[in-house]
Symmetry: C2
Subunit: 190 residues, 2 copies
DNA sequence: GTCTATATAGGGATAGAC
DNA sequence: GTCTATCCCTATATAGAC
């Protein structure tokens, strides 16, 4: 097989995905022009189209897939394991780290609000749905009643996304940290 | 004075703002091309630049101002009056109506997440900040302790924005209605 | 693989007839 | 006020040298 080992150096394509992601994050799908992308990656158009023959749509798709993989490993899998409590704690930690305590917005959320949602509907929908399902199941295992777990899982996801919007609107990332702390408190059983 | 009376027919400029708003809402600032705008308004570029000599930035600014005015009248003013409870109830009703029970996203939120935030920082910041301040004050008058009112006001704004993101991501507007109902419940004093 | 053209379409914006 | 025609620029994408 020609696939490189997972512990070898990452493929050149995988290596630019993070930078690509930051451009999409900051400018949205429509706003992420190739000139912004070349500036952020240091690669010329020729190199970019060599790595991503499908152009911008392929770049976005692979960035979404990379993000999805990160959350799968760091958040969804932990949520699905154990008694729920440890997974939920890990989720809050990973979420805080991923969004840089509110300094970074959610690319999937950005795509969800814009016209790009339609082109990337599956990835956008799947990301939130698997997060919500894994969280609701973890809440149940942690001792919450079924209905309570369902409601709380929606509140937590919405609270996170909304806090990212507010934090960026106010240019005050502390809004996100405060919101995350209050959400974690609501998980604790009374 | 040359200003038309407020009960007369609206200026032609004001008349296109709603359609303009829907384009910005659906496509974001960058994605709202003049060809989309001409299609949505039925006006040619000549007419558009006659109405908005400042081009797209002016269009966006006036759309933001119109939205701000609507919320000021329908939400912020009621929140500032009376004992708080009636204003908060009116806020939830107006919010549900404005966002079409989750079928419509928040243009200010869309701008906040994108690169347009920087160009329209004042309008974006002011909208959320005046909402939050009016809501926190209403919650205090309704009987909540100071700290509780501050936290709850942030939770409500974030909950609304986040629910709009989730509803659009899942293409399921019921997510928004459910979230709004739960937020209203949290306002009721125990 | 990466670069420098270059192709082609669409972007925002303006001029001037009507 | 509204249109058509047109300007110039930037967009995405491709070709081909190295």
């Amino acid at each position: 097989m020609s696939r490189r080992k997972s512990n070898a150096e990452p493929s050149p394509r995988a290596a630019v995905l993070p930078q690509l992601g930051e451009v999409f994050r900051a400018h949205g799908y429509e706003g992420a022009s190739l000139s912004l992308i070349t500036a952020a990656t240091g690669l010329g158009k020729g190199s970019l189209y060599h790595l991503f023959p499908g152009g911008k749509p392929q770049m976005a798709k692979q960035v979404l897939a990379e993000i999805d993989g990160w959350f799968e490993r760091e958040v969804f899998v932990p949520l699905r394991e154990g008694d729920g409590k440890a997974g939920i704690a890990q989720m809050f930690e990973a979420t805080d780290a991923y969004f840089r305590s509110g300094r970074r917005v959610c690319l999937v959320g950005v795509f969800a609000l814009g016209a790009a949602r339609d082109e990337f509907a599956e990835a956008v929908h799947g990301y939130f749905e698997r997060w919500r399902a894994a969280l609701a199941a973890a809440l149940r295992r942690a001792g919450h009643a079924r209905g309570e777990a369902a409601e709380l899982s929606e509140d937590i996801l919405a609270g996170i996304q909304g806090a990212l919007v507010l934090a960026r609107a106010a240019d005050d990332h502390a809004i996100f940290s405060r919101a995350l702390k209050r959400l974690a408190k609501r998980v604790a059983l009374k």
